[in-house]
Amino acid sequence: MTKFEYAPAPESTTIVDIKSEYGLFINGKFVAAKGGKTFLTINPATEKTLAKISYASNSDVDKAVAAATDAFKKVWSKTSPSERGKYLYRIARILQERAREFAVLESMDNGKPIKETRDVDIPLAAAHFFYHAGWADKLDHAGLGLNAKPHGVVGQIIPWNFPLLMLSWKIAPALATGNTVVLKPAETTPLTALLFAEVCQQAGLPEGVVNIITGDGATGAYLVNHPGIAKIAFTGSTEVGKGIARAISGTSKALTLELGGKGANIVYDDAAIDEAVEGIVSGIFFNQGHVCCAGSRLLLQENVAEEVTEKLKKRMALIRVGDPLDKNTDLGAINSKAQLEKIQELSAAGDAEGAQRWSPECVLPGTGFWFKPTIFSGVTQAHRIAQEEIFGPVLSIITFRTPQEAIEKANNTPFGLSAGIWTDKGSKILWSAQRLKAGVIWANTFNKFDPASPFGGYKESGWGREGGRHGLSAYVKVAK
């Protein structure tokens, strides 16, 4: 039979206009960092420099916090809730209007496939603003507690895996509830946040309500410890999250954390196997596995383990790895050299500890950061690849005999962010969902997100929820 190859289908980059250098967005304007220190952001698929980014000094952070404080006191707290909502609606609309531009830019800066930025990241980011816009003038009806009030100035630090989407998860609820914001995007993916600053300008958002400062971990640490910040929202690693919790332990700052995970994707023997295989693939290979809620541990019931693994291998052979801007690409570039090295190190630990590695044949591009979709079978609970978050396209396969054993193994982790359940039996879904210690459970589906759906973790996966009515609680103070 003739095999039909895909012709290249690259998305045009002419829609984006990347400046050679970007300033900080403080008080409604782009300004140069004090001292003029800069760093580069690169395209991880080509290793080519995209732009020079300003490195915010401590005094720049001070200025951003001062601008946000001023905006909170003088403008935003005096803006009526329905008017606040209308600004958010405007932002949502502009994001929709400029969606293609954002999708291409995100794909270039992050390395993720255009298919995902176009169909997931950007539409969901716009949806988050649209959803929260509607809450702004309904907070009294939301049952948040007695006398709910905004915190004031919120410091927000976001990761590189869903840059614009994480920005929207942070900024939309903060503004809807009447807070002002100083946000720091990740060091390797600042471009869509800076483009978002332009959206704020186009929307006519009052100056200082949103401030965006670029830098690294030290910039974030200075922001966290800043006395002008009343609340911190952080998405990132559990290690850094714990560090923030320690740093503010002696203060009255509020804190929400969305941290790591080691999600168990449980396939019972009565599951629809073909559908489960699709769910396993999207669970771990979506966004190169750079997903805190990835289904990175596959728990297979013993009597179907072989069948599922074989089907999974066949399916994995069809995954197209390569140019993120190609519309047919399934798996893009690893976001950075450092992340690639971490994935390589943990995978090597999997080999060394006796698990069996398998990847499909595929040709990886010569430049950029790449890792083949990979599964490890014969993984035990004690293996590092069963315990530590790899944050890459690497799946650990573990087997179980009884539902009780599945739950026990699934919960045997300090994390508690997500889990998946595959079975055709409704009562087994509810039985499992009740026992899994995880904040988000996908039954017969995986990696679905929506602004109306609360997201967040149990145990060491974090504090609080983002999205839905529950997510609003993170941004208000109530009598306790």
Binding site: S249, G250, A443, D450, A452, P454, Y458, W463
Partner: protein
Amino acid sequence: MTRIDVLKTYKLFINGAFPRGESGRVYEVKDAQGKFLANPCQASRKDLREAVVAARTAQSGWVGATAYLRGQILYRASEMMQARKSEFVDALVAAEGKSKKAADDEVLAAIDTWVWYAGWSDKISTIAGSTNQVSGPYYNFTIPEAVGVVTIFADSKSTLLSLVSSIGAVISTGNTCVVIASEKSPLTAITLAEVLATSDLPAGVVNILTGKSAELVSWVGSHMDIDAVDVSGLSKKSEADVRLAGADNLKRVHRFTEIKSSQRILSFVENKTVWHPIGV
């Protein structure tokens, strides 16, 4: 000849039993006039560990019980307390120097607080849960679930009322707890344990320790099997210590002042969201 009263030996309350502290240490508690009252146990790190093991072991059964049953057991505690009302009033007057009227008010309010939290057990998910209208063919709902094992540093300002409020809020949703009684006025807590021991409450759901809270703060903060802490009874300084050490396993740490507050309940639940496709 005057009769010699039979005095009570105050012990710890762990896993439904009243053991002495393993270290054999006690400390002296005096009444409001400075007269000797009792030698309660000075709980050690090991006692704390035993109490956490009891609480952890009891948790799956307690959260697995129906909310209706949990509500009835909390209500039962109010019945038991009503029956022993005068004992609590006398204790508050003698030990804490409260007026008869103030003590009476506090005990009655405490009884009513049990009733209040009893009624919450099967309503909290109605208030705090939701079905979420996601943009796609999925049924999506969120339910609050007990966070697990909670340590309560009891407030010393109202040793009975705030204690009942702390415990009632925490256990109504299926959490289990380890209470560190007020260091200065610990006896009401142990008398409360006697109420709980006769309220059909499964062993280990509530455990009560007496002792030096400054000593126990660091052990509570660093204990990796405690999920959350109510620090209402601690100073800001000790609260910071619990938060600092508690970051190791991201303990949920909260302070309260309101007595009847749904926030007390909501602070010790985790919200779980479940997705399922809709289709034929």
